[in-house]
């Protein structure tokens, strides 16, 4: 059985492009041009992943993401233009899984969908406890972080931060989510904590901290642990 993708996009050209390129990859593609249509489709025929465009004629999608999060673990990928930063972050904080900035290539879209599908259900059961990419190996259960076979010593806060990123490896995690999960809900405004800890961690984990390979910055949004 093929995986079902719901594309919510009001622009006909982009909708058609996504539909055809996703169909070619073997997805079963449904399309909606508005939030209300998307809601109806969610009820009748729940998809496996939702690709949601910002700036739809009947709203910004935050409500839809909240509704989806209440009932399903369906991954949501937000598609936004550059200037929609604030809305995009609001959706990510509301529970969207990842985002794409227009213009994007089909390759990027497919990669995002693959990552989110791999994580499907992990928000309920913490399934991901290990992460391996190139020379970096993280085993959360055994509390081990290695680079090239050599154990790295992380402070407890650094480890918590890394663990949070490992559990969402490949997906963006917003500043607010990281601060709330690692430091606590009352620290969500303290982005400078993150900057300092990320710099420390990069110094330990990265071969060249100035051009990171693993701990990637999503400028103005959050961080992403590279998994490809």
């Amino acid at each position: 059985m093929s995986l079902k993708v719901l594309v919510v996009e009001d622009d006909r050209e982009i909708r058609t492009m996504m539909q055809s390129s996703l169909s070619v990859e073997g997805f079963d593609v449904q399309t909606a041009v508005s939030l209300s249509e998307a809601r109806a489709l969610m009820r009748n025929n729940p998809p496996d992943v939702v690709v949601l465009d910002l700036g739809l004629p009947d709203g910004d999608g935050t409500e839809l993401v909240r509704e989806i999060r209440k009932q399903h673990a369906t991954p949501v990928i937000v598609v936004s233009a550059r200037h929609q930063e604030a809305q995009k972050i609001a959706l990510l904080d509301a529970g969207a899984d990842d985002y794409l900035t227009k213009p994007f290539s089909v390759g990027e879209l497919l990669a995002r969908i693959r990552v989110t599908l791999r994580h499907r259900g992990t928000s309920l059961a913490a399934a991901v406890t290990t992460h391996v990419l190139e020379d970096l190996r993280v085993d959360l259960a055994a509390h081990v972080v290695e680079r090239g076979g050599e154990a790295l010593h992380l402070t407890p806060t650094e480890f918590k931060l890394l663990a949070r990123l490992v559990r969402s490896a490949g997906r963006v995690v917003t500043h607010r989510q990281l601060l709330a999960d690692v430091w606590g809900a009352e620290f969500t405004g303290h982005t400078h904590y993150l900057r300092l800890y990320m710099a420390q961690m990069r110094a330990k984990i990265e071969r060249d901290p100035a051009e990171p390979r693993h701990l990637l910055t999503e400028t103005g949004v959050g961080y992403r642990l590279a998994d490809t």
Binding site: R82, T217, G220
Partner: protein, 471 residues
């Protein structure tokens, strides 16, 4: 006061009674009358003159303790003294009136001078109105009002009515003006006929007090001049802004007609070739056409992004989304992106560890650095150095720290006379050069706008080093 003086004179004369003649006692009374005349108004001083003569008569002129006068000589002396006392008190009163008048005029002249000099510094109508209010309040006990036309509104109260009316008539209303003499205040328009920009209301107003009314009129005249100056300056500035905007728009249109059409033409050409000739084109040709569509489209996307950001930054309501950011991180992401166009790794970055966090808009700063790097990649061949240095420089007496981001390439350099021109929007260095270069010249204009929005600057120097300073 007059009574005290007379009492003192009487006591004094009584004490000296045994030693001096009546003439000296009369002189003491005259002295009392002169002092009273100098200190008091005309009526009380005249009364005290009469009282002094009466007292002298009663206490000292024989027969004493009566109002009768014994000899004719004493009668004449008393009559002369009465006349002298009255004349003195009249003279003293008018002298006092004049010196008071002179002091008041001097104070008013000084106030006018002070108002004129403070109005010279005022730059908005609101400043001028508040200065005017202060000036009127210090000259008149009030309550006084100064308002601009817009501030009067439609309110139905008597003051607003008077203000509206004096503006409509462009004339002073109130006591002594011949217009609405029954009012208890003067209403003065700011501005001449048909161009009243505001009005003032001054209290208390008396018909006879011509000086005060003229002073109020002069103050209002100063306010009117200042308002006209400010309005004129604003008009000129609006006209200039409008002219600049139109010029920008026309250069933008000119740039669009070239820089947007060219990639669009290339894309349409390549796409239509694939559409109609795909059976005749070999796989290598098809790939080349597809590559060209993708690269032209991404160029258009960058151009659009730069244009939008520049428009957003130059609009006055723009607010930066600042946060505490790590420059190392921002440069890391920019390099991650730019490396896709830098396959031979020409960019050498040297970012020292442990830089302080800076409060910036990360998206904007990333765009600044990536525009500079793209520029360097496009216009030069050799290595490109990206360096960051923390420097101290004195700012307003304090040592402020600044981050200097510099991008140095080994390109052909920029002629001295082009140094500033390259930052103008829609301009490109190397206009006539043989190099196949593109770009609407928006990149550097945007970079400079971003640097300026962060309180920094962007300059170019020899060896095509481009430095951005962000405080």
């Amino acid at each position: 006061m007059a009574a005290l003086l007379l009492l003192a004179a009487t006591l004094c004369s009584a004490m000296l009674d045994a030693y001096v003649s009546l003439t000296s006692q009369a002189m003491i009374y005259v002295l009392a009358v002169v002092i009273a005349a100098y200190k008091l108004d005309w009526v009380p001083s005249a009364v005290s003159a009469v009282a002094a003569v009466t007292a002298l008569n009663f206490f000292f002129v024989p027969p004493r303790w009566t109002f009768e006068v014994e000899s004719q000589e004493h009668f004449i002396a008393l009559a002369v003294m009465l006349v002298v006392a009255l004349v003195i008190s009249h003279l003293a009163a008018s002298l006092r009136r004049e010196s008071r008048h002179a002091a008041a005029s001097e104070q008013r002249a000084r106030q006018l001078q002070a108002l004129a000099s403070s109005l010279a510094d005022a730059s908005t109508p609101a400043d001028i109105v508040s200065l005017g209010q202060q000036a009127l309040d210090s000259a008149f006990s009030g309550p006084n009002t100064v308002v601009l036309t817009a501030g009067i509104g439609e309110s139905p109260d008597a003051t607003a009515d008077g203000l509206r009316c004096c503006m409509a008539e462009s004339a002073v209303l109130g006591p002594g003006t011949g217009r609405w003499p029954g009012l208890n205040a003067w209403y003065l328009p700011l501005g001449s006929r048909g161009q009243a920009v505001g009005a003032a209301c001054v209290q208390p107003a008396h018909a006879a007090d011509v000086d005060s009314r003229e002073h109020a009129q002069t103050l209002c005249g100063l306010l009117d001049q200042a308002l006209q100056r400010v309005n004129l300056a604003a008009t000129v500035q609006t006209a200039e802004t409008e002219a600049r905007r139109q010029q920008l728009q026309s250069t933008f249109l000119a740039a669009v007609s070239h820089d947007l059409r060219t990639p669009l033409a290339a894309m349409v050409g390549a796409a239509s070739a694939l559409q109609t000739q795909s059976d005749k084109l070999g796989p290598a040709d098809q790939l080349r056409l597809l590559d060209s569509i993708v690269s032209e489209a991404s160029y258009l996307s960058t151009l659009t992004e730069n244009t939008l950001q520049l428009v957003r930054l130059t609009s006055p309501q723009q607010e930066l989304r600042r946060d505490w950011e790590s420059l190392e991180e921002i440069i890391g992401t920019v390099l991650g992106r730019v490396r896709q166009r830098d396959l031979t790794r020409r960019i050498k970055s040297r970012v020292p560890a442990g830089l302080p966090l800076i409060r910036v808009d990360p998206v904007m700063l990333a765009q600044l650095i990536s525009n500079l790097l793209d520029n360097a990649l496009q216009y030069s061949d050799g290595e490109i150095d990206l360096t960051v240095a923390l420097t101290s420089r004195p700012v307003a007496g304090q040592n402020a720290q600044a981050l200097v981001i510099s991008v140095k390439d080994r390109g052909p350099g920029i002629a001295d006379e082009e140094r500033e021109l390259i930052f103008e929007p829609y301009r490109r260095g190397d206009q006539s050069g043989p190099r196949e270069s593109r770009g609407a010249g928006l990149g550097l204009a945007l970079c400079r706008a971003i640097a300026a929005a962060h309180g920094g600057s962007l300059t170019v120097s020899r060896r095509t080093g481009v430095g951005a300073v962000s405080a």
